[in-house]
């Protein structure tokens, strides 16, 4: 489903050119639960941005569902983000003035879904993450775990092919982290492909496969035992 072939990303700082990604080859199949690990500065965030269609590689090909999205223009990328990718961020990134329901409705607004259907699907998604009773609450009235659940509901509401979670438990306590990771596991069992970017190995353990990134290259590519069990 996801195929990166010798993806290079370089930035020029002044006259100097810095290669952040130095030829990444990565293949992720549909329904996989993959963790991308690596120390800070390894390029995993850049990798995530490219996979999330927020950025384009300097060279190399990125195929998403057999479409060469690395050649897409910005408008097409926006559509791919909207329809095929659900983002979950460390800082939740909920719009503070919208209540939970409205936040979950956002991706559907950009997908051109009618108001009534939007409300139905948003409340359905919130129900799925266990927040049926918090729909009218503003983000600052919710706990960190609840905020992240709203963000997950927002990520799944357009039925994306892929959920990209960037340190989803980074701002949560360990107990809440477990709940959130269990939610991801549940979604994965329902068939959603999940890519998790993290530097915590406990979190990465929830994934069936871990990809290590260091110095802009994929170092290690292993399938964990625990992931194997859940098959």
């Amino acid at each position: 489903m996801i195929r990166l072939q010798s993806v290079v990303k370089s930035y020029s700082i002044g006259k100097e050119q810095v290669d952040v990604l130095k030829g990444i080859d990565l293949h992720i199949k549909e329904g996989e639960f993959t963790a991308i690990m690596g120390p800070s500065g390894s390029g995993k965030s850049t990798l995530m941005n490219i996979v999330g269609c927020l950025d384009r590689p300097s060279s190399g090909d990125y195929y998403l569902n057999d479409h060469l999205v690395s050649q897409y223009d910005e408008k097409e990328l926006a559509q791919v983000r909207n329809r095929s990718i659900g983002f979950v961020f460390q800082q939740f990134q909920l719009l503070p003035r919208l209540n939970a329901l409205k936040n979950v409705e956002l991706p559907m607004i950009y997908a051109g879904v009618k108001k009534k259907e939007r409300e139905e699907r948003a409340s359905e998604a919130l129900h799925k993450v266990g927040l049926s009773d918090r729909m009218g609450h503003l983000p600052n009235e919710l706990s960190g775990g609840q905020k992240q659940r709203v963000a997950i509901a927002r990520a799944i509401v357009n039925n994306p092919d892929l959920i990209l979670a960037d340190e989803p438990t980074g701002a949560l306590d360990s107990k809440t982290s477990v709940q959130i990771m269990e939610l991801f596991t549940m979604l994965n069992q329902e068939g959603t492909t999940i890519i998790l970017v993290t530097h915590e190995s406990e979190v990465a353990e929830y994934a069936r496969r871990t990809v290590f990134v260091r110095d802009g290259m994929v170092m290690q590519n292993e399938t964990t035992v625990k992931g194997g069990e859940s098959l």
Binding site: N49, G52, L54, D55, E74, K75, A78, Q79, R81, N82, R83, F87, F89, Q93, L94, L95, R97, L106, P107, I109, Y110, A111, G112, K115, R154, N158
Partner: protein, 397 residues
Amino acid sequence: MSVAENMKMALSSLLAHKLRSILTMIGIIIGVGSVITVVAIGQGGEAMLKSQIVGAGNTIELFYMPSDEELIANPNAMMMAPFTQEDLKAVEKIPEVTKVVATSSEYGNVRVREDTLEASITGINQAYLDVNGLKVDTGRNLLAADFLGGRRVAVVSSSFREELFEGEDPLGKVIFVRSQPVEIVGVLEQPTGLFSFGANEVYLPWNTWRTIYASNELSQVTLQTENAEDLQEAGQKAADLLNRMHNTEEAYQVINMEEIAAGVGQVTRIMTIIISSIAGVSLLVGGIGVMNIMLVSVTERTREIGVRMSLGATRGQILLQFLIEAVTLTLIGGGIGILLGWGTSSIVSHFAGWPALVSWPVIVGGLLFSMIIGVIFGILPANKASKLDPIASLRYE
């Protein structure tokens, strides 16, 4: 995303910063308000001037002005009676003409007991009453019977009463015009118009005037038509007809009062445009205020923009969102400005005794103009928002 949804979203983000939104709007409110006020007062003044020049009815006056050539060819032309009874009857037959007002006027001394006063003594026909109307303050107006019978009755102007009667009740008193007695039956209202001044006037039924002056001459003929559009044509027809009847080239003419009114209207319009463009400068300043606050808003909401982009908003949609927000801001400001201008011009017209006209085109124009201001000054901040990098925006603190 539809425009309506964008508007709703814009309203909610404007409501989130009420004070800031209101302060930003003030520039637009004052700008639109002052333009509306100036235009309303200007148009009101123009309408008032025009109505005073053209008069109430659709009337046009026939003039007898022989050219120099005609005077040389016929030196008596100037002495001739300009209009005759036959002329009147011919003109009345022109299809567009509904009424023909005929008057004869002479200046002469009027005597009451020992006092005399020079006054304009005008014989009028009944059509004069229908078209011009004589507003009687005390006593009664001239009646159909007065016209038909040529009764010796008169209606006098209020200044005539003051000069000759000085507070005495003139009704029923007899004045002498060319030594012939005439009874005063009514006194006219004080004129209020801009160009009216208190003249000493005596109005008699035309038949009475004819007997007193022993003359069939009509000094002034005015036509009235059903529709204002027919006026100029009917007037020209009448002038041509009279020229033919009198064997003159162009001694009979019509002056188009509407043309004069249009000229006056143009002057007031130019004044209005000048003053309102000065007022419009404040709109410009208001627009810059909107731009300023929208730029701040874009910076503040960098993260929101990043989130929206990551959720699939295109650059175009982000641009539209902020543009509509700016337009909503100026549109609301414009709406309040229109109400303010309406109120102000009503107050001004109340105290200045000058009508104010807030017309629909002005209201629509005001709203449209506020929208344009919103677009012009909103495009820069909106463009800035749409050009943001989603990755950097998501990380913005």
